[in-house]
Symmetry: C2
Subunit: 356 residues, 2 copies
């Protein structure tokens, strides 16, 4: 099996966690006799500093020639004063759009070993296994008109969806639910927003093609509550772009840390893989970053781009094993118990490698 | 002291919880020799059924002549197929706009007696006391253009804010923080949305007039997580309309139930008071509804419209006493302990009355 992966490490803790993820991919390739090649590229704040653009053409060209893109994280407080289209995050939004993946898959799983890291009670998080399917190319993120300049007294963004955009992401959600617990929870604000009415009507239409999957609708405000109160009730959660951004971060609370959450964006020319966490500039270079989000993202590459389901599972099992053995980066050390060992980013990466 | 209160009980559990709230207000009036008069009006689904409009002119006229409006809840699944402007919720949005209150205050407090009702660990919720200040008249809720018809393949909503709209609600937040723990956390999505950039720049400007109050900015996605992980870190949380809708419902998790949360909307011609919970049509008439949200909302009327701070505190103390004595409606009975007594909506109201 051959796979060409663009590695865009980005800002803050991006490079350090990405390094651990590529180490794991190298190990998998070696063990399985696969040929994985890695092409590095600049993105985000680092790219602005070196080239003036948050997504240099060279990066995009390279990415489009690869089978998968592994992105670390983008964002740097240094650029906070700039308008959205000049910031590191613009590079992320541009590459998402250019690669064309519209379905962002964000699993949120409760690891038994980490139940003490969550602010939620263990009986609440027990056995939770949610898969967010977040629409990634529509809504307020990309809607026009969008407008503000510093001297103006008014600003505008546009939330816009077409039926086709909803249909295609809904299909992904129903397909995935078919291989899971047969339930899709679609999130909207249909009691207020016209866009949500289109969303709800369209998802309801699509559901007819999947008679074995149960569809329920939840308002985004209620959902923000339910997902903490009864997370076990949810299987696949389908959302528009911004609601998915908010709810999937919130669901990090279930796992105990955002640092544990992987994501894969599928449906476009090239799949895009990124841990859910941000660039966390405050802890960059301190060895405190949790590489497991990035490593689990690597597992998603194996699953969705390399069709190596067994290897994906092996990486996930290795992560579980290391957690069960009590190794903890700072973010997952809440309520630390005797028998737990604090480790750095790099040590954590090595431990997973060994467990593999 | 005289006070004329418009009571718009609305749909679902609205009437039953509102009744308990007005009982308490009557008791306070009697004990203090005040003259509170109540004027009833139709709103929401009930109003649609009886008059064809979710906010009949008679209701609005009556409300505008009162000193305060107490609203129960609106929303009824029967109208789910209607477009936003024909639904019960339209009545709520219209009266919010007509009364002109732009600052929706939503306290989120952890009651020691209820710590077992929260899915969060007791050590996480301990001593939490957050006050949301949610902008209530702008953003996606009211922005134009807004558009969808059932035959169209596209839908649009507009997120729009003016500097003045941000300034006036920010001032409320800073004023309130000045009487509390001197901290304002402003929530936005400034790394993506132009509207959030206006929001952030304006709030930062306003902060200069309140040098003793600390201002911090949080992105809405991170905030959805932080508020569960470290709720004690927050004092006043300032948000635009939709972000406040989502985050304040989420914060219901801290108290243990949405049924406990009151709200007051100030700054307009007439203050509007409503519990945060919805109409919960599934439990309407079963005696399961928690009237404490409505009763605590009544306490906010005493505080913000009647200037009866002592009486407001007395009502809040009575609620605490009843909770400490172990009385629980269904929603706050999670992890029920020996020594707790399940009670109905009406019994709960009576108990608070007696404790007063
Ligand atoms: C960095 C930011 C633009 C991004 C988003 O909002 O999509 C991030 O929060 C995420 O969830 O991937
Ligand atoms: C019923 C609905 C229109 C309302 C809102 O979204 O504002 C409710 O959720 C609230 O928070 O008061």
């Amino acid at each position: 099996m051959r796979l060409k992966i663009a590695v865009l490490a980005g800002d803050g803790i991006g490079p350090e966690v990405t390094k651990q993820a590529t180490n794991i991919l190298r190990a998998v390739a070696e063990m399985g006799g696969h040929e994985f090649t890695f092409v590095e590229g600049l993105i985000g704040g680092t790219a602005i500093t070196e080239t003036g653009s948050p997504l240099p053409t060279a990066t995009l060209d390279a990415a489009l020639e690869c089978d998968a893109v592994l992105l670390g994280a983008v964002g740097d407080n240094k650029f906070n004063a700039l308008p959205p289209d000049k910031r590191p995050e613009a590079g992320l939004l541009q590459i998402r759009q250019a690669l064309g993946g519209f379905a962002n898959l964000r699993p949120s799983i409760a690891y038994t070993a980490l139940s003490a890291s969550s602010p939620l009670r263990p009986e609440v998080t027990k056995d939770v296994d949610i898969l967010f399917v977040r629409e990634l190319l529509g809504g307020l993120y990309f809607g026009a008109p969008r407008w503000w300049d510093r001297n103006s007294n008014e600003a505008i963004n546009t939330m816009r969806y077409t039926r086709d955009e909803v249909v295609r992401v809904a299909r992904v959600a129903f397909e995935l639910a078919g291989n899971r617990r047969q339930k899709v929870t679609s999130v909207d604000k249909a009691n207020v927003l016209e866009v949500s009415q289109l969303w709800r009507a369209t998802v309801t239409e699509v559901a007819k093609d999947y008679p074995s999957v149960t569809l329920e609708h939840q308002l985004v405000d209620s959902m923000a509550m339910h997902i903490m109160n009864i997370p076990r009730n949810f299987d696949v959660v389908l959302t528009e772009n911004l609601f998915g951004d908010i709810l999937s971060d919130e669901a990090g609370v279930i796992t105990g840390s955002l640092g544990m959450l992987p994501s894969a964006t599928i449906g476009g020319a090239v799949n895009l893989y990124e841990p859910v966490h941000g660039s966390a500039p405050d802890i960059a270079g301190t060895g405190k970053a949790n590489p497991l989000g990035a490593i689990l993202t690597a597992a998603m590459i194996l699953r969705h781009s390399a069709n190596l389901e067994q290897d994906a599972k092996a990486v996930e099992a290795a992560v579980n094993k290391v957690l069960d053995a009590g190794y903890r980066t700072a973010d997952i050390a809440r309520g630390q118990q005797p028998g737990q060992t604090p480790v750095s980013t790099q040590e954590m990466g090595k431990l997973v490698h060994q467990a593999l």
